[in-house]
Symmetry: C2
Subunit: 101 residues, 2 copies
Amino acid sequence: MSDQPRTFQPLDPLLHAELRLAVVSLLISVGEAEFPYIKEKTGATAGNLSVQIDKLSAAGYIEVEKTFKGKKPCTRCRITPTGLKAFEAYVDALKTYLEVK
Amino acid sequence: MSDQPRTFQPLDPLLHAELRLAVVSLLISVGEAEFPYIKEKTGATAGNLSVQIDKLSAAGYIEVEKTFKGKKPCTRCRITPTGLKAFEAYVDALKTYLEVK
DNA sequence: ATTATTTGGTTTATAACATAAACTTCTTTA
DNA sequence: TAAAGAAGTTTATGTTATAAACCAAATAAT
């Protein structure tokens, strides 16, 4: 017997941002991906994407590996267990807002 | 056969904000409610709630009726069809981020 | 050959916005 | 009659999402 209406759970501000949520969601889908691929799939500008990747990385939600392909930089991103857990918690919290009973 | 991974749909910025989403979600649940009730259920401060109610009202997502109970102000809020539609569209859009296939 | 253009980003600037703090008005209680 | 509480509103502040500007190397165009 759930209370009616339910109580709203706070939303992780790091994930409650359109682009960061897209990046994390995408990385969970595909495991890992390079900057240009993420840029294309999310439709983000390079600048915005760069900033948001830094934030996700600083939080330990993703791992970023910067190498070179020849002399061109290559930024590869991967979801971490921390990131996956945070995403799942975020989805659960969101449900308290979305499931209008 | 859906593309894999899916494309992310843009999120209505008016609803993609914790408190406004809570207010709209709550009003959909209960139909209509007064300011103090919304304040209690969302845990918001009065100032923040006042601002966000104004924005939802300006967008036509909710209707606000300001009366008096004796000489005390009484602010009653109600979800509109526009608000309900916007919420449903927002939920659909969100699913493109949450359903990690 | 040197001048654009593209690729793959980073850094900096700005504009919006969520939120809280301060304030107002009226009522109730000490 | 002074203090505290209720019901909000207005103003100020601190983030932060986002874009604009920039950099370096490679490729294409003239």
